[in-house]
C-alpha cells in the first residue's frame, strides 16, 4: 500500500464541542485504500513553535464521495492551528501510515473501546468490522457531558455504551468499570485511548484470554520508520510505533 504525500482540500470543519472537531478532506478520485487504525501525518503551518508534523488517526472514510475524516482534540499549538482550517484550505498530509486492527478469522464477539481522542479510529473500525460481518459493541468514555462527542454514527453500526467520569451521561466512572464487562463475554477487544485505560484493558484481557489490540500514541517525528523516535519496548525489542504499529496485540507489549 503505497504511502502518499498530498495537499488535500478541506471540505468541512465541524466543531463537536470545546475540544473536538472533525476535518473532512477530499481525497480525489484515486482515493487511497485505508485500513482501520491507520494514521496520517499532517503538516502544521503558521506557527513558529510547531516544527514537526502531527499524527492523527483516520476517523472515517467515505469511498462513495472520495473523502475521509480526521477527528482531532485540541491539546496544544498544532491542534489549535488545525482547528482554524476552513473549507477550501489545503492540508499537506502523508498517508495512509502504519498497520491496522486485525480482522477476526472466525466468528467472534468484538468490543471496541475508546477514551478521549482515542475514539477517533473506532468509527472507521466499526464500519469495517460490520462490513466484514462482525457487529461490534462500542464502549466510549468521556470526562463529562461537555466532552461528549456525537455518537449517532456509531449507534448505526452497533450497540453503544457510554461512561462519563461525572456520570452526566451513561454510567459513571471509567470505561474499565462499565457493567458491560460483567454482562457480556467478548472474544476480542480493540482499544484506543489513554495509556492507563489501555493497560487496564490489557490486564483484563490477558487474564481472560481475550484477544486485545491497542493503538498507541507515541511521540513521532517522521511517521514513516526513518527516525526511530517512536519506539515501543516489545517482546521483539524496540520497534517502531509508526510502522510496526500503531496497533499492537497486548501480548507483544511489555505491559
Amino acid at each position: 500500500m503505497a504511502k502518499r504525500i498530498d495537499d488535500l482540500k478541506v471540505i468541512g470543519n465541524k466543531r463537536l464541542n470545546n475540544d473536538f472537531f472533525i476535518l473532512e478532506l477530499f481525497a480525489g478520485t484515486n482515493i487511497a485504500d485505508f485500513k482501520p487504525g491507520q494514521f496520517a501525518q499532517v503538516r502544521i503551518d503558521g506557527s513558529k513553535e510547531t516544527f514537526l508534523r502531527r499524527p492523527v488517526s483516520i476517523h472515517d472514510v467515505d469511498y462513495e464521495n472520495n473523502t475521509f475524516k480526521i477527528l482531532i482534540q485540541i491539546v496544544g499549538k498544532g491542534t489549535k492551528m488545525l482547528s482554524g482550517l476552513a473549507e477550501g484550505d489545503l492540508l499537506n498530509i502523508i498517508y495512509p501510515l502504519g498497520n491496522w486492527f486485525t480482522l477476526p478469522e472466525k466468528t467472534e464477539k468484538v468490543l471496541l473501546v475508546g477514551g478521549g481522542c482515542g475514539i477517533a479510529p473506532l468509527l472507521f473500525l466499526a464500519r469495517y468490522f460490520k462490513f466484514n460481518g462482525f457487529i461490534p459493541d462500542i464502549l466510549l468514555g468521556f470526562r463529562n457531558n461537555a466532552r461528549i462527542i456525537e455518537f449517532e454514527e456509531y449507534s448505526k453500526i452497533g450497540n453503544v455504551f457510554i461512561t462519563t467520569e461525572d456520570g452526566s451521561v451513561g454510567e459513571k466512572g471509567y470505561v474499565t468499570s462499565h457493567s458491560v464487562f460483567s454482562t457480556q463475554k467478548y472474544d476480542r477487544i480493540c482499544c484506543c485511548g489513554p495509556e492507563t485505560m489501555m493497560k487496564a484493558l490489557a490486564a483484563y484481557s490477558k487474564n481472560r484470554n481475550i484477544i486485545c489490540e491497542v493503538s498507541l500514541e507515541n511521540l513521532m517525528a517522521c511517521g514513516i520508520g526513518a527516525c526511530l523516535c517512536c519506539i515501543v519496548d516489545t517482546v521483539k525489542g524496540n520497534i517502531c510505533t509508526c510502522t510496526d504499529g500503531p496497533v499492537f496485540n497486548v501480548n507483544d507489549l511489555k505491559w
Partner: protein, 305 residues
C-alpha cells in the same frame, strides 16, 4: 544543462545532495515519495558491530525550529546489515555510504574492515560525533587525540573513501578537521547534532529519557554554516555541509560558504521529498544566475570577502 557533480578523490557523485545518517533510514522508507537514485548519495542509519536497542522512550522532543533526539544508535548490527540490508540498498543507482560507530577504537576498526569487503559500498562516514551514547561517539569527536587515533586506525584498514563526521560540540572545530585531514580522511562532513535539552514544564521533568539529546533542524543552521565556512577555509579535502537544511536556499548557503556537497537531515521528516526538491532548486538557481557548473559557486563568498 548545468553540471552538478562533485568528487571525493576518484569517487564521483552525480550531484551534491546527500541524505544524512539516521534521518533517511536505509532509503526504502522514502521509495514511495521520491526516486532515491536521483540523489548524489545516501548515508545509511548509524551501524555498529553488535545490534543495539538504543535509548529508552521518550527519545524525541520538538523545539523552536528544531527537534531533539536521543535515539542512541539503535540498529541491528553489521551481520544483519550484510545479510539483509546491503543486498537491497545497492540496487539504488547512487553512492551508498555506511555510517559507522563504536564504543572503542577496536569497534571502529572491525566495522571498517567489514565494510571494506562490501564492494558496492565505496565510502564510509566515520561517526565520532554521536551525542546520544554513553561510550564512544562524541567522546572521540570532542578530543583531538582520540579523533586522530580513530581516524588513523580506520584509515589503515579501509581502502574506500573515508568521510569523518565532526562534532559541533567543541571549542574549535577547525582543529579537528585538520587532524583528521592529516590522518588521511578523504572528506569531512559536519555538523552532527548540538547537545541540547528540554524540560516538560507541566510534568516537571526532562522531555527525554536521557535528559540531553541531539539538536537538529533549522535552529542549528547558523552554527553549522559558520563551522562549515571555517573548515572549508582550513582544509583541502571536500567538505560536506549538514545542519538544518530545509530548502535549496539553505543548501546554497552552505555551498556558497565552501561546502562541496550537503546532507539533508531532519527536513526529510517534515517533507520526505525535500532532498529531491533541494536538488531541483539548486539546479534552477545555477541556471538563473547563469552558472554552468556548481564548482563555480562553491566557496563563492570566500573569493569576494
Amino acid at each position: 544543462m548545468v553540471n552538478l557533480g562533485f568528487s571525493i578523490g576518484d569517487l564521483h557523485f552525480k550531484n551534491p545532495v546527500l541524505t544524512a545518517s539516521g534521518t533517511f533510514g536505509y532509503g526504502s522508507e522514502f521509495d514511495d515519495f521520491i526516486n532515491v537514485s536521483r540523489l548524489g548519495g545516501i548515508v545509511l542509519k548509524g551501524t555498529t558491530l553488535e545490534p543495539r536497542e538504543g535509548n529508552l522512550y521518550p527519545r524525541m522532543a520538538e523545539t523552536p525550529s528544531g527537534m531533539l533526539n536521543a535515539v542512541g544508535l539503535q540498529n541491528k548490527g553489521i551481520d544483519y546489515f550484510e545479510e539483509h540490508i546491503y543486498p537491497r540498498v545497492i540496487n539504488y543507482d547512487t553512492n551508498v555510504i555506511v555510517n559507522i560507530n563504536g564504543s572503542y577504537i577496536e569497534d571502529y576498526i572491525a566495522l571498517a574492515e567489514r565494510v571494506n569487503k562490501l564492494k558496492k559500498i565505496r565510502a564510509i562516514e566515520l561517526n565520532i560525533s554521536c551525542p546520544n551514547v554513553k561510550m564512544g561517539g562524541m567522546v572521540f569527536g570532542t578530543n583531538l587525540d582520540s579523533s586522530r587515533e580513530v581516524t588513523r586506525e580506520v584509515r589503515s584498514v579501509y581502502s574506500g573513501k573515508l568521510i569523518v563526521k565532526l562534532s559541533p560540540n567543541v571549542t574549535n572545530i577547525v582543529d579537528f578537521a585538520r587532524v583528521v585531514e592529516e590522518e588521511g580522511a578523504d572528506s569531512v562532513s559536519l555538523i552532527n547534532t548540538l547537545l541540547g535539552m528540554s524540560v516538560d514544564v507541566a510534568k516537571m521533568k526532562p522531555s527525554l529519557s536521557t535528559v540531553t539529546g541531539g539538536l537538529s533542524g533549522p535552529a542549528i543552521k547558523p552554527v553549522a554554516l559558520r563551522m562549515v565556512w571555517q573548515v572549508a577555509n582550513a582544509v583541502k579535502i571536500p567538505v560536506i555541509g549538514i545542519g538544518g537544511i530545509m530548502s535549496a536556499s539553505d543548501a546554497l548557503e552552505f555551498i556558497l560558504a565552501g561546502a562541496s556537497a550537503i546532507q539533508v537531515g531532519t527536513a526529510s521528516f517534515i517533507d520526505p521529498q525535500s532532498s529531491v526538491k533541494i536538488l531541483e532548486g539548486i539546479e534552477s538557481y545555477l541556471l538563473l544566475k547563469g552558472f554552468s557548473d556548481i564548482t563555480e559557486i562553491t566557496g563563492f563568498i570566500n573569493r569576494t570577502t
